[in-house]
Structure formats: structure tokens, C-alpha cells
């Protein structure tokens, strides 16, 4: 509580008036740690920024147009097939996945999961912190997971754009891009064939690959609850299952890439209807 004399100094009591300053009180109110509302008019402050941003971006685009024209090749002809055939750059990540996955996965199922996963993000992230500013430390799991997916998308695009040449072979920027490269020669094997080669019976080998695939997802669904019990309880059953199955899917493509490059494994599971 402030001194009575201070209050008197600021607003001396006057007998003729029916109101007076009662007391100055030190303490914390609802406005603690908040600045007073510091607002400005949108006209002109925000509109200026918008106008400048628009003009600057237009100027940059016009400048690009002065030295780089939109590409136009020969007229479309089904007689000559270009090698390599490339999708537009923003889809080259998916096309690059074709090296590792069958088209139904790379072209359809994985993109659908990407979209569904992104739509689900706000409903799965229950951490209330880190709204309204660039925050790293307050939500490491969310940020690292998102970054991992985001980087995958762009890394595959960069590979597709800058490192894939004739016959979709790997070309370094300094390689001769007009010369065909011999295929690596390595034979790719399916997981069940490898197991069979080790002396496991054919049916047993097949069942083992099924079990390994189910085990992979089971691992992601069981381990977190054992490791992070409190976090898992906060998530609740539905969110928990969604978070970790989507997370397992997110890890799938790097794992598949690793299996292919390290062990020449083509599919880790073969069913009569589809191959993974």
C-alpha cells in the first residue's frame, strides 16, 4: 500500500467534491506482464506494408522475367519419349519415392496420408504453449516431427530436380548428363526371399515378414506409453493412437530408403494383392 501522503499529493482531497482518490495500491492485477493496448489504424499502417510487399514482389518477378523466360520445348508428341520424364518440380519428391515404393503408395496413399496428417496436426498437438511467436524450446516434439516431414519433402524434391538424370539414375552436377550410366548391377531381393534363403520355410518366411511389419507399427504404439507415461495420459487413447501411427508412417520412407541402399531390399512385405 502506498503512503497516504503520496495519494494526497497526486489528488488532494477537496471537501467541496463528492469524489476523491481513495488509495494507491501496489500489487499485481490482471494486466500483469501485458503492455497497455498499443494499437494503430490499419489505414495507413498495415496497408502501406501490404502495398510495399506487393510492389517489391512484383518488381522481383518482373526482373526475373527480363532474363528468364518460361520454358517451351518442342510440340507435344507421343512419338518421342523424353528421358528422364520429370513431373513438375513440386511433385518430384513423390516421383523420387517411386524408386523406393510402388506407385499406389508413392503417388496416392502417401500423399493422402500427408494431407490427412497435416489436417490432424492442430487436433493432435495438445501443448498450449508457443502461440504467437517463434518458439523452439517449448514444444520440441511438435517442431522436430514437423521439421522431419517437411525436410523429407524438400530433400526428395532436391534429389529429383538436381540429381536424377537419364533412366532416373543418380547424377552428380559435374557428371556428363548425356551419357547413360550402367545400372548398379545389384539384384534387389524381397525380405521373404532373403529369409527363405537363410533356410526358413516359404510360408514361415512370409508370415515372418507380416509379423515384422505388424511389429514395426506395434513398436510405435507400445513404446511411447512405456517411455513417456505422463505425456501419453495427457494425449488420451484416440490422440495417442493417431499420433504414433502417423509418426510410424512418417518414419517409413527413410527406413525403406535405408533398407534399399544398405541391404538391397526391394519389399519388406509381399502379399498377393500388394507389396510394401
Amino acid at each position: 500500500m502506498a503512503e497516504r501522503s503520496t495519494t494526497e499529493n497526486i489528488y488532494p482531497r477537496n471537501q467541496k467534491k463528492s469524489y476523491a482518490l481513495m488509495e494507491l495500491v501496489k500489487g499485481q492485477g490482471f494486466q500483469t506482464r501485458k503492455q497497455p493496448e498499443d494499437t494503430v489504424f490499419v489505414w495507413p499502417h498495415l496497408l502501406y506494408i501490404e502495398l510495399i510487399a506487393a510492389l517489391v514482389s512484383l518488381a522481383i518477378l518482373l526482373w526475373v522475367c527480363t532474363f528468364k523466360h518460361a520454358p517451351l520445348e518442342d510440340m507435344a508428341s507421343s512419338d518421342t519419349t523424353p528421358n528422364p520424364m520429370k513431373a513438375p518440380w513440386y511433385f518430384l519428391g513423390l516421383q523420387e519415392l517411386l524408386v523406393f515404393f510402388d506407385p499406389w503408395l508413392a503417388g496416392m496413399v502417401l500423399p493422402v496420408f500427408i494431407i490427412v496428417g497435416m489436417l490432424a496436426i492442430p487436433y493432435l498437438d495438445i501443448n498450449p504453449k508457443g502461440v504467437g511467436y517463434w518458439a523452439w524450446k517449448e514444444r520440441p516434439f511438435a517442431i522436430w516431427t514437423f521439421m522431419f516431414g517437411f525436410l523429407q519433402w524438400w530433400v526428395f524434391i532436391i534429389i529429383g530436380v538436381y540429381f536424377r538424370g537419364l533412366d532416373w539414375q543418380w547424377y552428380m552436377p559435374w557428371d556428363d548428363w548425356t551419357q547413360h550410366k550402367p545400372s548398379s548391377g545389384a539384384t534387389l531381393n524381397d525380405m521373404n526371399v532373403i529369409l527363405h534363403g537363410w533356410g526358413v520355410g516359404e510360408t514361415a518366411a512370409n508370415l515372418a515378414t507380416y509379423a515384422m511389419t505388424i511389429g514395426y507399427f506395434a513398436l510405435f504404439l507400445i513404446l511411447p506409453v512405456l517411455l513417456w507415461r505422463k505425456f501419453s495420459q495427457q494425449l488420451g487413447v484416440v490422440r495417442y493412437l493417431l499420433v504414433w501411427s502417423l509418426f510410424a508412417l512418417l518414419m517409413l520412407s527413410p527406413i525403406k530408403v535405408f533398407l534399399r541402399l544398405a541391404f538391397n531390399i526391394k519389399y519388406f512385405m509381399v502379399t498377393p494383392w500388394f507389396k510394401l
Partner: protein, 253 residues
Amino acid sequence: MIDRLVTFIRDTQLWQSIFRHGYPETDRNQSLIMFSSVLLHLHPVKIKRSALRFRYTMCLGGLSAFMFLLLTFTGIFLMFYYVPDTRQAYNNIKDLTSNVFMGELMRDLHKWSAEAMVFLVWAHMFRVFMTGSYKTPREFNWGIGVILLTVTLLLSWTGYLLPWDQLALWAITVGTKMAEATPFVGNAGPWGPQLGFTISNDIRFLLIGGTVVGQNALLRFYVLHCVALPVIITLGMVVHFWRIRKDGFSGPL
């Protein structure tokens, strides 16, 4: 003299019917213009000073929207000179680059702003994630944003076919090959053949109107690119902007 003329013009019924208030240099008029202008009323009248900081939004969302406007403008220009006919399309583009006044500039601008829009929409999404702006109460608007991103990619992709050059034909051929592999509804996808889908009745056939990318595909992509998808993305943008106003800006307090 000039002052009197200005006053006279401002007092006419014509002027008063268009502009409801004076030039926005007073608080009152700066508020009124935000209410009375249909385009400006997307904005609030006042915002927090901290929300203006460039390094918070980096203008990414606004620039994405601006790219869309630029693409609409240049796209309408291009439509005057383009016929979606496999015998004409390529030559129309050739004409644009050599015979049409400003044709090449408009095509270049359309192309590069399209690329910029794809990049900016991705970058905007990255920013929104990193600043946690999708959290309650903005979950739904994040979802709208994801759909807008998807439609942006589809818009860019359908436009890719229209020049009808080798780049276009084979890029779309690669892309639609993937559609063929869709589970259940593609002739090469899991359970597609079992459900009776062949090359001439599956989802790819629906998309390109044939078994190969040809005249029907060009027409379909043209209509999707110039009419259907722009309508969808416009509706999405309307909801997206509306929700920013209704749910509040996530910026620093």
C-alpha cells in the same frame, strides 16, 4: 479556386454516392473506410502495433494471396489468345511469345508467379506451424489452409499441360500414371482389377478423358485450371480470411 472546385465535386450526388466519407486522414475517416470498402473490410480497423512486425509473418500469407491476384490478371490475358485444342495450343503459345503485344511478359509473369505462389504457400504454412498459430481456436483455419495448399498444387499442375509441349505432355503422363495405381479405383492399383476397373473405366480415365493424354485431357485440364479450381480456391480463400478475422490474429501480445 481549386479548393472551391474540389468542394463542388465532393458535394455532387455522384461523388457522395461513391465515397461515403472524406479522405482517411482523421481517426473517424480511417475507421469509416474500413467499414465501407468491401475489399478493405477484410481488415480490422485497428491492429496491435506488434502485429505489424515483418519478422513475425514475413508477409507470406498476404504475398500468396497477391500472387493469386497476379495470376488471375495475367491468366485472363492469356485466355484471350489460347485455344485448348491440341492442334492450336502449342502455336498459340508460340504466338504469345513472338507476335502478341506483351504476350511473352504476361506468360513469363504467369509462370514465375505460379512458381512463387507454390513456394510462398509452403513457406506460409511453415511459418504458421513454427509460431504455433494453428492452435485453439484456429484449428479449422489450418485445415482450410491445408486444402488451399493442395488446390494450389493442383492449379499449378493442371496449368502445366496447357502449353502442349513435350515438357507438358510427359509431366502429366507421369502424374496420371500414378492415378492409375490408386487402390480400389485404378486399373493398376491394389484391388482395382478385382473390382472390375480397366484402363478405360478407372479414375485415370475419368481424369484425362481417355487412355492417353490427348485432346480430352487438354480440355479437362483447361476447364479445371481456368474455371473449376480457381472457383474452389477463391471460396477457400474467402473462408480462410474470414476465419482470421473471426478467430483473431495469433500475433504477439
